[in-house]
Each structure stands twice: as structure tokens, then as C-alpha cells.
Amino acid sequence: MEASSWDALRKQARRLEAQLDDQMSAYRKLISMKSDGSENDIESDIERSLKQLQQVNSQMQTWVSSGGSEVLSHTLTRHMEILQDLTQEFYRLRSSLRAKQQHASLLDLRDFDRAKFDVEEGADSDQALLKEQAAISRSTGQMDTVISQAQATLGTLMLQRSTFGGITTKISNVSSRLPTINQILSSIKRKKSMDTIILSLVASVCAFLIFIYWMSK
């Protein structure tokens, strides 16, 4: 009964994992295609499958805790790893989709503004061109400023990196030594207590022998 239960759980977990792989592929394709509307459905499907897989893993955990062997424990750990990977992948894909959607939504009046811009351009194209040229000049100046700042920052960062490299090496040496020192100290303490016990035993045995000798005299 329990053996078939374990096999059933495992089969269910495998089926859910395969299903999630398919759903993730569809979701990934959907994100790259930039189509609208159906991503919510796929998202809720994936979330439901992840929840089911979590429940199956919990049941497997319960089964292993109540007397499973090491092989089963190893298998369970593998399933939990897979669930973890799938969850992180889903979070990452969803975040990137949200970012794209929000960016598009923030700038969604592009078409309307283009029409407006065409009207203005028809009215006075020369003045518009002059304004654009001035804007481009200012932009170029600002870009030069940014580039020079970036170069200065890069130089300083490289210097900082070499400094940190040295620091890291020294810290690694120190941190590798400190636990060893602690271990040495505790070993010394242990040996000292052992020596103390042995010395006490020897002294007590000698005292006992002296007592016996004194009694027999």
C-alpha cells in the first residue's frame, strides 16, 4: 500500500514537472512574441502547477519522515531542487514581462504624439529643425561630460579592485588561520584535562598502595 503510494506520488511529481516544462516554454515564447491578453492565463496555470508540485513534495516529505530509506530521501531532495529551479525561473520571466509591459504602458501615447508632431512640423519646419539641432548639441555636450566621468570612475574602480584583491587575500589567510587556532586551543585544553585525570589516577593508586603497605606492617 505505502509502496504504491510512494510510486503514485513520484509519478505525479514527474508528470507535473513535465507539464511545467511545457508551460514555461509557452510562456517564454509568449514573452518574446509580445502578444497581449493570454499571458495572465498561462501565469495562473503555472502558479497552480507549482502549488500542486509543492503539495506533492510535502506529501513525499511526510512519507520519507515516517521511515523512508536514504534512496527515497535522495530522490525527494532532487525533486525539491527541481521545484526550486522552476520557481526561480518563473519569477525571473514574470519580472521581465512586467518590466516590458510597464515600460510600454508608461510611454503608450507614442502614436498620438507622432500625429501631433507631424502637424507642428507642417506648420513651421525650419524653426523645428533649428530647435532639434540645438537639442542635439546640448545632448552631445552632456554625453561628453558623462563619458569623462565614466572614464575617471573606471580608473578609480580598477585601482579599488586591486586594493580589494589584496585585502581579500589577507582576509582569507586570517580567516583560515583563526578556526585552526581555536581548534588547537581546544585540543590543548582537552589534552590538559586528560593529563590532569591521568595524574590524579596515578597519585590515588600510589596513595592506595601506601595505605595497604601501612596496614600490613
Binding site: Q84, A99, H103, L106
Partner: protein, 289 residues
């Protein structure tokens, strides 16, 4: 694989026997911890992370009984590394125990580092409240140790999370504090513009035009060169658009800025919130009219 597993099992049984035995010579906890360590190592080689993590927890308990807090904390950190493979929640709990022990023995530096790790685990798990709490704690500990650059980068993360949780006032205050601190550093002052822009965006989300104007005056006090930057121009345009209740002007200003400097997802999210709020206000006014 199977050999390592069996060897790990064997070491664990020996350690348990040592624990239940009578320790005449030396400390039975130290000996058991050594055997447990060998067992955990075997489980790691067998890639059985759950067993390895459980054994590391046992090692930590042994060291706690033997009054070796540093070794116990290190064992918790190792357990957390194993838990990360399959259960971030338990990894965070193990690291939390390590942090408590490091605080007890006064190793604030290491406590701060692992506190930051806990915050990042929760952030990855999208639990923003807990992530914010642990990152704040980590920043405080780094401040206690005088490491302001690490503290500032963590505080920036805390401020971003606070803004995502709609705690705009708190986020704005943190950004301003970081900007004030960085303006005195010749290297870091170049990024003050970005930080002040983040602070300004938080103010925009609050929707208080007077507060925005006062904030921008404060920003000029912090950084005299700020008024000549594109970030300042964007903020002033957005503030003007918000004062007039003009969504199209708001969008135009963002589009102009975005055409040169691509907005990152955090800014996009917050500006979208501000725009939606403005649009809602505009619709209300239309209804009144």
C-alpha cells in the same frame, strides 16, 4: 554516489553512538562533531543536500553544548549553503541562527554579511517585507563597524524596496541621507544625481506638489550642480505637469528622458504609478466639469 551515502550514514551512526556514550576522556561533543563533519562531507559528495544540511544542524548543536559559538555559527552557515539548493526558507532560518550567534560573540562584521545574505534570499523569494527588515539590520551593523560604502549600497536597496511597498516618505528620506553622505566623497559624488532622481520620483508618487518643490530646493542645497542636469530637468517638468494635471505633458517629459537614458524597471514601475494617479485625477476633474 552510493558509496559516499553509505559512508556518510556510517559516520553519522558512529557520532550518535559517541553522543549517547559516557565521555570519560575529553569532550564527547567535540568528537561527535568531528564525526558528524565527516558524515556531512560524505553526504555533500553524494549530493544529498537535505541529509547534509540536517547533519550540519547536528554539528551546530554539538558545538553549542560544547560552548563553541563560533564553530556553531560556521556550521549553521554550512547548513544554509546546503539548504539553498532546495529550500530557501530553511536556508534563511539557518543563517538567522548564525547571525544571532555572531552577534553574541561580537563578530558584527560577519553578522552583517550573513544578515545581508538573508535579505537577498527573501528578496529573491519576493517577500519584500522580510527582505527589507533584514537588509536594514545589515546596514545598521555595517554602520556600527564603520563601513559606510557597504552600508550605503544596502540602504539603497532598502529604499527601493520601501518605494515598491509604497512607503514613499521613508524611501525619500533614505535616498536623501545617502546623497548627503556621498556628496562629500569625490568618487561617489557622480552618482548623487541618480540618487536624487530616485528620491524625486518617490516624492512624485506621493502626489504632493508643494512637497516636490521643497524637495527640489533641498536637492540643490545638497548638490549645487544638480540644477544643471537632465535629471533635474525631468523632475521639474514632471512636477509642472503634475501641478497642471497634464498627462500628455507628463508622458512627453518621460519620453524625452527615456530616449537618451533608458529607464530601469524600478523607475518605470514608480513613474507608471504616478502617471496612473495623475490620470485618475484628470478623469475626476473631467467628471466634475
Amino acid at each position: 554516489m552510493g558509496d559516499h551515502e553509505a559512508r556518510g550514514d556510517d559516520f553519522e551512526k558512529k557520532a550518535e553512538k559517541k553522543l549517547s556514550g559516557w565521555g570519560i576522556f575529553g569532550s564527547k561533543y567535540e568528537d561527535a562533531a568531528d564525526l558528524f563533519d565527516k558524515g556531512a562531507n560524505s553526504f555533500k559528495l553524494a549530493k544529498n543536500w537535505s541529509r547534509a544540511a540536517q547533519v550540519y544542524i547536528k554539528i551546530a548543536n554539538c558545538h553549542l553544548k560544547g560552548d563553541s559559538k563560533h564553530e556553531a555559527a560556521s556550521a549553521y552557515v554550512e547548513a544554509a549553503n546546503c539548504y539553498k539548493k532546495f529550500s530557501p526558507q530553511e536556508a534563511a532560518q539557518a543563517l538567522n541562527q548564525a547571525v544571532d550567534l555572531f552577534l553574541e560573540i561580537g563578530r558584527l562584521n560577519m553578522a552583517a554579511r550573513y544578515c545581508k545574505d538573508i535579505g537577498e534570499i527573501y528578496h529573491q523569494e519576493q517577500d519584500l517585507e522580510k527582505a527589507s527588515d533584514y537588509l536594514e539590520k545589515s546596514a545598521d551593523l555595517f554602520d556600527s563597524e564603520g563601513q559606510s560604502s557597504q552600508s550605503n549600497s544596502i540602504k539603497q536597496k532598502v529604499a527601493e524596496i520601501a518605494a515598491q511597498l509604497e512607503q514613499y516618505q521613508k524611501a525619500n528620506e533614505i535616498f536623501e541621507a545617502i546623497a548627503r553622505q556621498q556628496i562629500n566623497n569625490n568618487l561617489l559624488k557622480y552618482s548623487v544625481r541618480g540618487i536624487l532622481l530616485n528620491a524625486g520620483i518617490c516624492q512624485l508618487c506621493r502626489g504632493d506638489v508643494v512637497a516636490i518643490t521643497n524637495s527640489m530646493e533641498r536637492y540643490q542645497d545638497i548638490d549645487p550642480t544638480f540644477s544643471g542636469t537632465r535629471e533635474y530637468k525631468l523632475l521639474s517638468d514632471l512636477a509642472a505637469a503634475m501641478e497642471e494635471g497634464d498627462v500628455a505633458k507628463f508622458t512627453d517629459a518621460i519620453k524625452e528622458f527615456d530616449s537618451m537614458t533608458r529607464l530601469d524597471p524600478w523607475k518605470t514601475t514608480l513613474l507608471l504609478r504616478a502617471k496612473n494617479e495623475l490620470k485618475k485625477k484628470e478623469d475626476d476633474e473631467d467628471d466634475l466639469t
